[in-house]
């Protein structure tokens, strides 16, 4: 870990927290001015590499010092804005940084295929803005700053989703509905922050937590809690606030779906954890009640209902989108247990799910690049035509079900252990039931890929083909990560445990 902290010269490392956000933000307008998509892509790649590097440096610093606090403009908190990296958000930063990097590599052929050449520089610019927002939400220690970064992310996401409109006009209505619901969510969040500010007179998260602990809770902070949970729940696509998600994922460009599915809802879920555990305390009675009666219950219902809905989808991307809603249910259940083991299992599932869904959507993108995927039947026989992409899809799909030898098993195992710890037998039953439903919907796609006859052209089977290296490389890395982190689960489990420890203390 010492090596990580010294990757960069001390002068730069001291500003790593702010550079993480500023670099993609500054490169975004530069990318927009570039004459061709390729150059804009190179700029995005540069930003993504630097961000991943800075995230590693911050990991090194956090493991040395515990908390890295950066005062923007030299104004000391709680007056100034603070960027704060601790054990809870470092895994999320690493996740966004590395998945962002892999997705950016993947973008080159995918975007060239789906977006008009003249719009590509602007597209990459919007992506960089979205990337900035996600990192900002994760790193900031200021409650209002969270709102600003959330909206930076959301506004660019609406545009990115709408860019699928060239292929399928339903992307436009999907993006519009996302905009309406996303804005309502953000506004609810900002009402909640306003109430918190009324009650505490401060916006710094640590300071809010301190004042709340000293002064206790009133009706105002309870209202703030409700508004914040609903607002962030909309952003994180928590069941039943997920209605915007399936269409947005199904009709966005493939690269956007892969990126959003593995980062955006994760970051929203992280900030929810931050508010629930670091600002409101899980010992407070109404927070504890919300864990048992809202998060655990809705998480369980979502896990079953969304998985059942996924079974009846015909479009593979819509199917996986419903599956994403179900996976958020697992995380909600983990959080709702209100124990350290539960939160840690939820966070572990959050990281693992990013790897599974990233690989799955990338593989679907690889299929779409060569054959165009509109329904499950268009996956027929691709196991023989595109073996590499089909294998990656299979590994990640099995991981989604939770088959042993994949990370999906690891996180479901920890979730079940945490549920048993609390004697929640119904939760164990729901976890297993939902995994069986996942087996059905993943099985449907795998059957089509491996069992059916390959696509034919004039009666002759289409020759074997391969997606470009820029697709194969990130897709394979993510798929292999699904297996690697099963055998070597310690680093991720350690990160998740440290995160849960940081917000829940010794309990």
């Amino acid at each position: 870990m010492d090596i990580l902290a010294h990757l960069l010269p001390a002068g730069i490392a001291a500003h790593a927290s702010v550079l993480l956000v500023v670099i993609p933000l500054i490169l975004a307008p530069i990318a927009a001015l570039m004459p061709s998509g390729r150059i804009a892509w190179a700029i995005s790649l540069l930003a993504a590499i630097l961000v991943a590097l800075l995230a590693l440096v911050l990991l090194g610093e956090v493991s040395q010092d515990g908390v890295v606090s950066y005062h923007l403009g030299g104004w000391a908190p709680p007056l100034g804005i603070e960027y704060r990296v601790d054990a809870l958000n470092i895994p999320i930063l690493l996740l966004v940084g590395f998945v962002g990097l892999l997705c950016t590599i993947y973008a080159l052929p995918s975007v060239a295929d789906e977006i008009e050449p003249g719009k590509q520089p602007m597209f990459y610019s919007a992506f960089l803005v979205c990337f900035t927002g996600l990192l900002g939400v994760t790193i900031t220690g200021d409650a209002f700053n969270v709102f600003v970064f959330l909206e930076i992310t959301s506004l660019s996401t609406y545009t990115l989703v709408a860019m699928g409109g060239g292929k399928d006009r339903r992307a436009l209505t999907a993006s519009y509905n996302y905009l309406i619901l996303g804005t309502i969510g953000a506004t609810f969040f900002v009402i909640g922050v306003g109430f918190l500010y009324m009650a505490t007179g401060t916006l710094n998260m640590v300071d809010i937590a301190r004042v709340l602990a000293e002064n206790g809770h009133t009706r105002v902070t309870e209202a703030a809690f409700a508004f914040i949970v609903v607002g962030l729940g909309l952003k994180a696509a928590m069941f039943p606030l997920h209605v915007w998600l399936p269409n947005a994922y199904a009709f966005a460009p493939n690269f956007v779906t892969a990126f959003l599915a593995s980062t955006a809802t994760k970051v929203a879920f992280y900030i929810l954890i931050r508010f629930l555990f670091s600002i409101f305390h899980p010992d407070v009675s109404f927070v504890a009640a919300s864990f048992t009666w809202i998060f655990a219950v809705l998480g369980t219902v979502g896990m079953i209902v969304a998985s059942a809905q996924a079974i009846f989808q015909t479009d593979p991307r819509r199917l996986l989108a419903y599956s994403s809603v179900a996976q958020v249910g697992y995380m909600m259940l983990g959080l709702g247990m209100g124990t350290k083991a539960g939160l840690s299992a939820g966070l572990l599932h959050l990281m693992n799910h990013a790897m599974m869904k990233g690989a799955l959507f990338m593989a679907l993108g690889a299929f779409a690049l060569k054959f165009g995927v509109r329904s499950i039947s268009s996956l027929n026989g691709l196991g023989r035509t595109m073996p590499v992409a089909a294998s990656a899809f299979t590994i990640a799909g099995l991981s989604l079900v939770g088959v042993p030898l994949t990370v999906g098993f690891t996180s479901k195992w920890y979730l079940i252990l945490a549920a048993l710890d609390r004697d929640w037998w119904w939760a164990v039953a729901a976890l297993i039931g939902s995994s069986l439903l996942a087996l059905v919907y993943v099985g449907r796609m795998l059957m089509a890929i491996w069992m059916e006859a390959p696509p034919a052209h004039h009666g002759k089977a289409v020759a074997k083909t391969r997606a470009p290296w820029a697709v194969v490389m990130p897709m394979s890395i993510l798929a292999l990560a699904n297996v690697y982190f099963f055998f070597n689960a310690d680093p991720l489990v350690h990160l998740a445990n440290a995160a849960a420890e940081a917000v829940m203390g010794g309990r």
Binding site: L79, V148, L155, T173, L179, I180, P246, N247
Partner: protein, 143 residues
């Protein structure tokens, strides 16, 4: 009951505006009108922040003399805790809302741009017409 309401008279119009906006968003099928409702909803939140900044008898938070120590105190976020005897209103919520206004304008702009594109692609901006256009022939289940 009346006392409670009168003490909090500033919140009444805010709540009315907020609920009107939210109702318009859900009730109308017209995409532009829905954006109007959304803007109303957001704007009512700006008012919420601005009224919370008001300190009764408070001066505008502008320090005429040299700034130094007072500067930090006046910005301390507790309007009532301002420097000696002079009571200032709290300037921070106004600054926050400036940011939120920018966000609101950007949201409206992106929303209207989307409506323009939807109108080009579908020839309508009515929700029902859009659903019929998409899902009467399609096999996928409607969202």
């Amino acid at each position: 009951m009346l006392d409670i309401l009168l003490e909090r008279f500033n919140y009444i119009p805010i709540i009315l505006l907020m609920m009107t906006g939210l109702y318009v968003v859900f009730a109308t099928g017209n995409l532009v009108k829905r954006l109007v409702g959304l803007s109303l909803f957001q704007t009512s939140v700006f008012l919420l922040y601005i009224t919370m900044a008001k300190v009764f008898g408070g001066q505008p938070p502008i320090i005429a003399e040299a700034h130094g120590e007072d500067h930090a105190v006046a910005a301390a976020g507790h309007g009532a805790a301002a420097a000696e005897a002079v009571l200032y209103s709290n300037p921070l919520p106004h600054v926050l809302i400036l940011t939120a206004i920018v966000v609101g304008v950007a949201t409206l702009a992106v929303g209207l741009a989307l409506v323009v594109r939807i109108r080009e692609a579908y020839g309508s901006i009515e929700d029902d017409a859009l659903n019929t256009a998409d899902y009467s022939r399609d096999t996928g289940a409607a969202g």
